[in-house]
């Protein structure tokens, strides 16, 4: 591996709370991403995220330690409710965040018209999956970086890199949603809470665990059974796209969309870096500080190792993946589709 051919990538780490922000920065994050305590970001869960005062403090903490703070305003305001998004944007700009991560065309439009000097990143929630789509956002809103959907192979990422005028950020570790980001209303269909408009996927308030007489545990979201576990099994959190279902032509229930696995691109890191990915993103704003510390430290070492031309040991990360099972997802090749 030629260490010289790669640009040193930015390690972009989750900060669900001010405490996690400090943990991630201290563990070696180059940048942290976070959101306000409301529907303006796609991880709008209770107990997570930042008040305006905390956001101001977060920016100061990150900047003092030489890290960046990226503010996610990556949901889609419904008509007539744009004021909440307007405040989030204006506050973020005022606090000096290093970039806003946006998904909605309208939100991007508001920022580029009212804060033309503010650096903009295109969220994965925008679902820009082709060079032309990314070019459109870059030309319209002066986007500086795109977070690519988790649906492209390394080869495809390389091809896109050669055709777009902005930086590429890619997910390397954590939860992997199966649906195209920003194009999924499954949660809203069964809970009345929208991923795009409210920033919530599979809300805990709508999760139920019910045991039947044979002691099988049914996991439900809204009124619908998403999976069922016998007593020896570890019951997963019910997410529609990772549930088991029935179709007429199969005798057994099957994971119709995806098994409960996590994304782990540890082994592809050098390939991604050589494909032109200049920011590596770790998912998990909802995870604990201990998790953030372990994952960020491990990837800090890995990235530094690769840059130094070494082959770092990263097998310990598997223990942190969902159900201890991992996948390279689409990044590994076309057979995943």
């Amino acid at each position: 591996m030629e260490a010289m051919s790669m640009i040193r990538p930015e390690l972009v780490c989750p900060a669900g709370t001010p405490a996690s922000l400090r943990t991630a920065v201290d563990a070696g994050a180059d940048a942290v991403y976070c959101g306000f305590q409301n529907a303006t970001n796609a991880r709008n869960f209770s107990g997570l995220n930042f008040t305006t005062a905390e956001m101001r403090g977060g920016v100061d903490y990150a900047h003092d330690k030489g890290a960046k703070l990226l503010l996610a305003i990556n949901t889609f305001p419904p008509g007539g409710k744009t004021d909440l998004w307007k405040s989030a944007i204006d506050d973020g700009v005022c606090f000096g965040v290093d970039a806003l991560i946006v998904a909605d065309i309208g939100v991007a439009e508001y920022v580029s018209q009212n804060h033309p000097d503010q650096r903009l990143h295109l969220s994965v929630q925008a679902g820009a999956s082709s060079a032309e789509a990314i070019q459109y956002y870059c030309e319209s809103f002066n986007i500086k970086r795109v977070v690519l959907p988790r649906i492209l192979t390394v080869k495809e990422i390389k091809a896109i890199h050669d055709e777009i005028p902005c930086e590429i950020e890619a997910f390397i570790f954590g939860n992997i949603g199966m649906m195209a980001e920003g194009r999924c209303s499954l949660t809203n269909y069964i809970t009345g809470v929208s991923t795009n408009m409210d920033g919530v996927c599979s809300p805990a308030s709508h999760v139920k665990y019910e045991e039947d007489k044979a002691r099988n545990l049914m996991t439900k979201l809204g009124d619908f059974t998403v999976d069922c576990f016998s007593c020896g099994e570890n019951a997963g959190y019910p997410t529609v796209c990772k549930g088991r279902y029935l179709v007429d032509h199969r005798e057994e229930p099957y994971y119709a969309f995806e098994e409960p696995v996590s994304l782990n691109l540890t082994s592809l890191l050098p390939d991604l870096m050589q494909a032109g990915v200049t920011a590596l993103k770790i998912e998990g704003r909802q995870r604990s500080r201990a998790y953030v510390r372990s994952v960020v430290s491990a990837f800090r070492k890995a990235v530094d190792g690769y840059m130094a031309g070494e082959n770092p040991e990263l097998s310990g990360l598997l223990a942190l993946t969902e159900g201890h099972r991992e996948t390279a997802g689409a990044f590994g090749g076309k057979k995943w589709r």
Binding site: P77, G79, A126, R183, M197, H249
Partner: protein
């Protein structure tokens, strides 16, 4: 009533992979037997399906135009691989046709040209609408999960911008897209060797929960509701909010009759309750839903007061 007279009835793109002859015959019957104002043709789900019907575009468009029906070509909703990109580029390069853009790559090609924006484009608010209008969008079909309340603001703004608005009122509800083909997966295949197995299911593949309850519908990379959207009771209210076109999403049952029922409601010849009762008898074999409009779970049916 003047407002009613202006309302248009449209047939959305066929989301499922029907054999080419079935599609052609469907459009011929639409042209011959029912008074609709606009028909969206074009494949929106999967680039691999495109070659099968492409050869019939001209013939179908001619027949529909002869019946005084506007023809609009819808672009793919998810554009990723070279083949998808070429399909969108080719369609958008054709100056002689009207196009509905369903992703941002189409918006790039159509910048500065008059075009429609499709329901997969995430037009949730007045900011997005203003941006698109400047880019050349003159007509927008709203996303299915958008609540009726948000339509008030969008409807008012659309008049200032000279944009017209449309919403789906019938058919299974598009809920999600993915890079993976779930039809192929259900048959232990992957997208590249799917052998277009989606053709076996003209209304999609039914997924049930482990409790045996019908839940979702798989259509290639798309996931739809099991329930059938029915906003026949809401159309009056939608008109007042500024929605001027009502989209029926084709299912394999008798869509001619379905379209006639909606037309007669728009013409005030029958009321919504009568239309709904007849849709329940002759429509898709699935319960109705209208929850999204009322800001409830999308799968629910909210009784009209």
């Amino acid at each position: 009533m003047a407002m009613t007279a202006l309302s248009k009835l449209t047939i959305g793109p066929i989301l499922f992979h029907w054999p080419a002859e079935q599609k052609r015959d469907f459009y011929f019957r639409i042209a011959d037997e029912v008074q609709v104002d606009r028909v969206y043709i074009g494949e929106v789900i999967c680039g691999k399906r495109v070659p099968y019907f492409e050869q019939h575009y001209e013939e179908v468009a001619r027949r529909l135009s002869a019946a005084d029906i506007d023809v609009v070509y819808s672009t793919l909703s998810e554009v990723m691989i070279r083949n998808d990109r070429q399909i969108v580029a080719k369609l958008c390069a054709d100056e002689s046709i009207n196009i509905e853009a369903n992703d941002a790559s189409a918006l790039k090609y159509l910048a500065g040209k008059k075009h429609a924006a499709g329901p997969f484009l995430n037009v949730y608010n007045e900011w997005t609408m203003s941006h698109l209008a400047r880019n050349g969008t003159t007509h927008i079909t709203l996303p299915p999960e958008l609540p009726g309340q948000a339509m008030d603001t969008l409807g008012a703004k659309s008049k200032d911008l000279g944009v017209t608005l449309e919403a789906q009122v019938y058919g299974r509800i598009p809920l999600a897209l993915s890079a993976r083909c779930y039809h192929a997966r259900a048959h232990d295949r992957v997208k590249d060797n799917c052998q277009l197995v989606c053709e076996e299911d003209p209304d999609g593949l039914d997924l049930s929960t482990l409790a045996g309850e019908p839940f979702l519908t798989v259509n290639g990379i798309q996931t739809l509701s099991h329930t059938c959207l029915n906003l026949v009771h809401e159309m009056n209210g939608m008109q007042a909010k500024g929605i001027s076109a009502f989209r029926l999403s084709p299912q394999s049952h008798n869509m001619i009759e379905t379209a006639q029922l909606f037309r007669r409601v728009l013409n005030k010849e029958i009321d919504a309750a009568e239309a709904s009762a007849r849709l329940a008898e002759n429509g898709l074999d699935a319960p109705f839903s209208n929850g999204f409009y009322h800001q409830e779970d999308g799968c629910r049916w909210v009784e009209n007061q």
